[in-house]
């Protein structure tokens, strides 16, 4: 079964509720067949944007195109995008099979064809034997599968998922994530997925769009956005990060450098020069040594605290000026580091740091 996936183009979308601006000037291209995640804290506008895509809410400003056709004012029932709701929104009075058959009945598909397609998708999502049960008799994971089957059975060009895993426990969540990734591969439909869980976003998506305060801050592939965030918010939202305030930012032979505690720390080239900036480095990109590094960046620091995380250890340091630094190391390596005493050098290579504007 393959579906014709469509691309969606949002151009300057805004949405106000009274005086409250839930979305401001969102422009985003969603490519056909991609797995796009809308990521942000609660109240960031990501769910509002999904509701606009579904057609449940109308945009206050801007336009929405589906494969170049203007759908800004078309109704949800005419767009016919598949949707998986938070809490699944299954029909409690219908059986599993009746739930999945509903969108086909609405489309006037013949009785035999409905039975065939419902049976096929029930087999694909692993619900064989549960056809006659009501949703209340199913586990959370099974309800989730019904919701997915019901949203995919009519082969929608786009599938929208609103925090579908928020009600599942961690173990089940992992399995359902794999399941969704597999279904995306098999159906080839464009998936637009909303979550506030950054690790879920990083592992599932082909692209992530980060929302905050009704604005789209950055969109890109998980690796790009994790390793090259353009703002402090994005950098911090995607995971723990060290921020070193640097002064006298200027270009050098290897890229851009800034002054921190009397030393020049280097980073890849950055256009904001002159004045102050933040040098950002992920904790897992740093290491610890007894000597200042011969090449790469290094900062003298004193160990303040350690946290055992199982496979890894989290070491908290403070620099001479009191700037906190966090380093995560494999537990085995961390053990050796701790044996050397508290005063060490925290080091990282030039490529692993990046400069951020001081206020962002």
């Amino acid at each position: 079964m393959t579906t014709r996936a469509v691309g969606i183009q949002a151009i300057g979308i805004g949405k106000s509720f009274g005086h409250f601006e839930a979305l401001r000037d969102i422009s985003l291209d969603i490519a056909p067949g991609e797995f796009l995640t809308l990521l942000g804290p609660s109240g960031s506008g990501k769910t509002t944007f999904l509701m606009l895509l579904a057609g449940f809410q109308a945009a206050s400003t801007g336009r929405l195109l589906s494969d170049g056709i203007d759908i800004t004012n078309s109704r949800a029932e005419d767009r016919s995008f598949g949707m998986v709701f938070q809490g699944y929104a299954l029909f409690p009075h219908k059986s599993v099979a009746q739930n999945i058959a509903f969108p086909l009945q609405v489309r006037g598909v013949g009785r035999e064809e409905i039975a065939r397609r419902v049976d096929a998708i029930i087999a694909r999502v692993g619900l064989v034997g549960h056809e006659k049960k009501r949703p209340a008799m199913l586990s959370g994971g099974q309800q989730q599968r019904v919701a997915l089957a019901r949203a995919l059975v009519f082969e929608p060009p786009v599938l929208l998922l609103d925090e579908p895993f928020s009600a599942l426990d961690k173990h089940l969540r992992g399995r359902m994530q794999e399941e969704v990734a597999r279904l995306h591969g098999e159906f080839g439909t464009t998936f637009v997925f909303v979550t506030h869980d950054q690790s879920e976003a990083l592992s599932l998506s082909s692209r992530i769009a980060i929302f905050n305060n009704g604005r789209l801050l950055q969109a890109g592939a998980p690796r790009d956005i994790y390793e090259r965030p353009q703002s402090r918010f994005v950098a911090e939202f995607l995971g723990e990060i060290n921020l070193l305030p640097v002064a006298e930012v200027g270009h050098c032979s290897l890229g851009t450098s800034g002054l921190f505690e009397g030393m020049r720390l280097r980073a890849p080239r950055h256009e904001h020069v002159g004045g102050r900036a933040m040098l950002a480095v992920r904790p897992e990109h740093m290491s610890v040594s007894a000597e200042p590094p011969s090449e790469g960046n290094g900062v003298a620091a004193r160990l303040a605290n350690t946290t055992y995380l199982g496979a890894a250890m989290r070491l908290a340091f403070a620099t001479r000026s009191g700037t906190p630094l966090t380093v995560t190391l494999p537990s085995e390596v961390a053990g050796r580091v701790l044996a050397r005493g508290p005063d060490v050098w925290v080091t990282w290579s030039f490529d692993n740091g990046f400069l951020l504007p001081e206020q962002s």
Binding site: F56, E77, D78, M83, A89, P92, F102
Partner: protein, 281 residues
């Protein structure tokens, strides 16, 4: 719910005891007295019950009562469904207006409302005199002292009782379930028939039960608006007890009415339980 231990049982009993005592004194004992009359007056035996099933007048009153109550229930529940839909899902202004329309009459005495209908619909009432003044009719229309006026009056009284169970059923419907149906391409009509109505069916059953049971025992409204022509069971009991010294038959009719209501409640509550657990279909 099961009591976990004995220590929790006594406070619970103490708290419910006044109600149980009150019901025993105010309802159970007098009813047993009435039941006793039905088999002892004027002499010991089931003679009054034989009269009850054999008397065409009594049977016709029972039949009329059922007919009126059935129509009243259907009209009141249907009207209440529409009203409640707007009340629960309408705009703020619509909600305020409906609250006034539903609850202000609810606080006014039955008697006042029955006379209100009389003032509106009688031969020299508002409606007939205005229509005559406008020259639309020559002689007054017979709008009261008939079944339709009894039905109108009863529906008016009973709608609020249907609104409350319907409202709680409609409020319990998950908005996202309706959105999901829309997203799958279903029209408004389709969503109503295949999603909203089935989901609110327990409320409809509850409202039907309440309205029908209440309507069976109506006395004041049919007595005033029926004007002695459309006599219902409760009025017949009154006539047997107070207008003719036929206490035995009156008591037998009362007992029969209570038994019918009890049987209906048992039947409908079982049906409602089935609809609620979803194992019925």
């Amino acid at each position: 719910m099961m009591m976990r231990n004995r220590s929790a049982l006594w406070p619970a009993l103490a708290l419910t005891a006044p109600l149980v005592l009150f019901l025993a004194c105010a309802y159970a004992l007098p009813f047993l007295g009435v039941a006793l009359w039905s088999v002892t007056l004027p002499e010991l035996g089931t003679g009054q019950y034989q009269r009850l099933v054999g008397d065409p007048l009594v049977l016709s009153v029972f039949l009329r009562t059922f007919r009126i109550c059935l129509v009243v229930t259907v009209v009141a529940v249907a009207a209440a469904y529409a009203i409640t839909y707007v009340w629960v899902r309408g705009s703020r202004l619509q909600r305020r207006i409906l609250e006034i329309c539903i609850f202000v009459p609810f606080w006014i005495s039955l008697l006042t409302r029955a006379f209100g209908w009389l003032a509106l619909l009688s031969n020299r009432g508002l409606f007939n005199s205005w229509m005559q003044a406008l020259g639309l009719i020559d002689s007054p229309l017979a709008l009261v002292r008939n079944e339709p006026s009894v039905i109108a009056g009863m529906v008016h009284v009973l709608i609020p009782f249907a609104v409350l169970p319907l409202a709680s059923a409609m409020r319990a419907v998950d908005e996202r379930v309706l959105l999901a149906a829309r997203g799958m391409g279903a029209s408004r009509l389709r969503i109503f028939w295949s999603v909203f109505l089935p989901l609110t069916l327990p409320g409809v059953i509850g409202a039907t039960l309440i309205v029908f049971v209440f309507s069976l025992g109506f006395f004041v409204t049919p007595a005033i608006l029926g004007g002695g022509r459309s006599i219902m069971v409760a009025e017949l009991v009154y006539l047997r007890m107070f207008q003719s010294p036929d206490w035995g038959l009156g008591a037998a009719i009362s007992v029969a009415l209570v038994l019918i209501v009890a049987a209906l409640m048992a039947l409908l509550s079982r049906f409602a339980a089935l609809a609620l657990t979803g194992s019925g279909k």
